[in-house]
């Protein structure tokens, strides 16, 4: 037993040692252009771009770069955070005048595709998390402006461009419904500040430039996506869910205590001595429960 | 006045198989009563009902005119057939425990009995032998000035010398105005101390009972011999 434990301990320790990420400085080759528009890392060129159109789900630790003599003449310090798939890189520069500069870079190999996407020069886009496609050019028709309210919440669906078999996804905008019409909000047109992630909500009461979706193909795809067609309608619609929820609440907090109240009162009448007191106490608690719940329920109904 | 009144008690562990079936007995105050019968006839069940450890399915039990409950526990001193202490405790802890919960506990009496047996008060129960543990238990039970003592098989599983000691302790330390009910199947050892006896059979049926001396005189036999005849297989 002792031998087995010591073997297991040794393996665990060895694994931990090798698994511990190294926070040492990297000696891998890192180079950068004078205007920071390019970075070279491990023989790959990364081009600076606006990276706010996609999400990084990976976690990576920043690495301190060991600067060469020539590099030290341009900057004081540099750290890079290379993410997995080598698609994306973040760099922090500390200039000699103690100014900090933050840049995001995309692997040159992907850059062209990415730029095409965020400039709208692509055709097929996807509805997030669904296997449904739109023609982007169809969505970019009928430009208009609508007033959105801060208090409104919209069911919004991200429109993504995917390349390399979905390995890379770029957020281009969202589709949403208002006053029975579908609209497409393009980030490039409306402004990058509208990107908030999956739970999209309008920022402030203002006019927003959007595109009204009118073509048949896009509309039928949206109907399919948003569950309006019979094939994809969810088991319960919102009203049914509310009804079930309301019924469950009334049943658990109202009907069950009421039933038990009647039972406890009957038992109290039939019992003698100590059990009568117990059942009467339980009856009081039931009454209190029903009373509090009734007040709450009628207040929020 | 009767210290114990049992009226039409029925107790079943399994359905349609009563251990006690409509049993009724009375025990007067100041008597030592032997509840004698074969194994499994319901003696321990009856004792536990009186002690309040079990609830009867029907019938009533009164101790000192009160229904069995918290108040009767204060006047009943119960010795089960097995040790019932936390063995991690020391003897002195038990003395303190009994003093706290039983107002009729005579700690001086208990300490004297313990010292007579050279039992160290600071000894942990787990360090004592089986026989000594049982003696400690008996001392604690008999050091109370209870009105009713229930001794369930007090001499089973101990050597003859210990049996004599136990019976001697019972006689010399109980409250003479109280009653003792002793259950046992070792009749020979016990019969000399009994005032009254009850022969109990399966289902809680009382086959025979009465004054021990008078019965011995009447039949010119010991209770043990009478028992063997009554319960002949």
């Amino acid at each position: 037993m002792k031998k087995i434990l010591s073997i297991i301990s040794s393996v665990l320790i060895a694994l931990t040692i090798f698994a511990v990420p190294s926070f040492a400085k990297t000696n891998d080759t890192v180079a950068f252009s004078d205007d920071f528009s390019y970075v070279y890392y491990n023989g790959t060129r990364y081009i600076a771009t606006d990276s706010r159109y996609f999400y990084i789900n990976d976690y990576a630790e920043p690495i301190e770069v060991t600067l060469t003599k020539e590099q030290k003449q341009k900057i004081k310090a540099m750290s890079i955070t290379p993410y997995d798939s080598e698609f994306y890189l973040e760099a922090n520069y500390l200039l000699n005048n103690n100014t900090s500069v933050y840049c995001t870079y995309i692997n040159e190999y992907y850059y062209k595709h990415y730029q095409n996407a965020i400039e709208g020069k692509v055709t097929t886009v996807y509805l997030y998390d669904e296997d449904l496609t739109f023609n982007l050019q169809n969505l970019l028709q009928n430009k208009t402006s609508i007033l959105v309210s801060e208090d409104s919440e919209y069911d919004c669906y991200n429109i993504m461009y995917q390349f390399f078999d979905g390995d890379v996804e770029v957020d281009l905008g969202v589709v949403f419904k208002q006053d029975d019409k579908y609209y497409y909000l393009d980030y490039a047109t409306a402004g990058i500040e509208f990107i908030h992630g999956f739970d999209f909500s309008m920022i402030a009461e203002k006019n927003v430039t959007v595109y009204e979706i009118t073509d048949e193909e896009s509309l039928s795809t949206l109907d399919l996506a948003l569950g309006n067609s019979p094939e994809t309608r969810p088991l319960f619609d919102d009203n049914t869910t509310m009804l079930i929820s309301g019924f469950l609440l009334i049943f658990i907090f109202g009907i069950i205590p009421l039933g038990l109240l009647i039972l406890f009162l009957i038992l109290a009448l039939r019992s003698k001595t100590k059990y009568r007191k117990i059942f009467l106490t339980l009856s009081l608690i039931c009454i209190l429960q029903i009373a509090v719940f009734s007040v709450l329920f009628f207040m929020i109904m | 006045m009767n210290i114990l009144e049992i009226k039409n008690i029925t107790k079943c562990y399994k359905k349609n198989s009563p251990v006690l079936n409509g049993l009724s007995i009375s025990v007067p105050a100041g008597k030592i009563v032997g509840l004698l019968g074969p194994n499994g006839c319901g003696k321990s069940t009856l004792i536990k009902l009186i002690a309040g450890l079990l609830q009867a399915d029907s019938g009533e039990i009164y101790v000192d005119g009160q229904k069995v409950g918290e108040k009767t526990a204060a006047v009943v001193s119960y010795l089960p057939e097995r040790p019932y202490f936390n063995f991690k405790l020391k003897v002195k802890d038990l003395l303190k425990y009994f003093s706290e919960f039983y107002s009729d506990f005579r700690i001086d009496r208990a300490e004297k009995l313990l010292s007579d047996l050279s039992i160290n008060k600071n000894a942990r129960l787990s360090s004592l032998s089986k026989g000594t543990k049982e003696k400690v238990q008996l001392i604690l039970v008999m050091s109370r000035d209870a009105k009713l003592y229930l001794l369930d098989e007090p001499i089973a599983g101990v050597d003859p010398a210990a049996r004599d000691y136990i019976l001697g302790t019972i006689i010399s330390n109980y409250n003479p105005e109280a009653s003792i009910i002793i259950t046992t199947h070792l009749i020979t050892d016990v019969e000399q101390v009994l005032d009254e006896f009850l022969f109990m059979t399966y289902g809680g049926k009382i086959l025979m009972g009465g004054n021990a001396d008078a019965t011995r005189t009447k039949y010119s036999k010991s209770l043990d011999a009478i028992f063997r005849e009554v319960f002949k297989c």
């Binding site: 926070f23 339980l282 929020i300 | 019932y84 936390n86 706290e100």
Partner: protein
């Protein structure tokens, strides 16, 4: 008599608990001193870093074991004192059955609360020591201050109601879980003569799974319903309604406690089955 029973129950439960509590706090301190080394950017020898990571892991495990230890102690105390030979002494004491149950319940609930407090203190100690550089800074303390002010700006004086409600709910939920454990042990002891402990654990596991599933479903449906209804309320009704919801939940927990207590009392009073 309840006081005397409580005294003995506390003594029994806390006999070894205080040692485990000190060890847990010690593990928290050890973890606290290990954290800066484990997450340091500097050149730390791999063996030292690995040792600190293992130390943190052991500390977390140790604190988890301490938590399980308290449940086990409550289980053992309740079972041993009532359903083994010790039960012959306990149930023949001149005390009410309710007092015996109340003593076990009160001591177990207080014991659980103390354990939670120690676990919380151990974790907090580890974080305070481990991240002292980041925590004991003006910036961080200002952030805490701003967060508190922001919460207060939304809740106003209702914050005191919420705090009291949280404490009461914590106590009532702890009481429910303790009573539930007692119910399982007592029920197992009434239905079986042998293997009572295993039967009790099995009943606890099954019943716990069933009730947890039911409450999860209830929580999901009721949560979404109430959340939707709350959105329709005006802002000045938000806090009163939330307080009312908390009151309703608290009364419901008292209702559950009443039922579980009655079941337990009935089983101890009428269905006791000592061997």
């Amino acid at each position: 008599m309840l006081g005397k029973l409580l005294k003995h129950d506390f003594k029994a439960l806390f006999k070894y608990w205080w040692i485990a509590a000190i060890i847990s706090l010690g593990l928290g301190v050890a973890a606290g001193f290990s954290i800066p080394i484990a997450i340091s950017d500097n050149n730390i020898p791999p063996i030292l870093r690995a040792s600190t990571i293992i130390a943190i892991f052991v500390a977390i495990m140790g604190i988890g074991v301490f938590s399980a230890f308290s449940v086990v102690m409550i289980f053992i105390r309740f079972y041993k004192n009532l359903f083994t030979d010790e039960g012959y002494l306990t149930f023949t004491l001149p005390v009410k059955r309710a007092s015996i149950l109340n003593s076990k319940l009160i001591s177990a609930v207080l014991f659980t609360i103390a354990t939670t407090f120690i676990i919380f203190a151990a974790i907090l100690t580890a974080l305070l020591i481990g991240f002292s550089k980041d925590i004991f800074t003006v910036r961080f303390l200002n952030e805490i201050h701003d967060s508190v002010l922001e919460i207060y700006s939304h809740t106003g004086a209702y914050i005191y109601i919420y705090i009291i409600a949280a404490v009461l709910l914590y106590i009532s939920i702890t009481t429910i879980s303790t009573l539930f454990l007692f119910n399982c042990i007592t029920f197992a002891s009434t239905i079986t003569k042998k293997a009572r402990v295993i039967t009790a654990i099995a009943i606890y596991y099954v019943a716990n799974s069933v009730f947890t599933s039911i409450f999860q479903i209830l929580f999901v449906f009721s949560g979404s319903y109430i959340s939707d209804k709350m959105d329709t309320l005006s802002e000045n009704m938000y806090n009163p309604i939330t307080s009312l919801i908390l009151l309703c939940v608290f009364v419901f927990t008292v209702f559950i406690i009443g039922i579980l207590y009655t079941i337990e009392y009935y089983m101890l009073d009428r269905k006791l089955n000592l061997l």
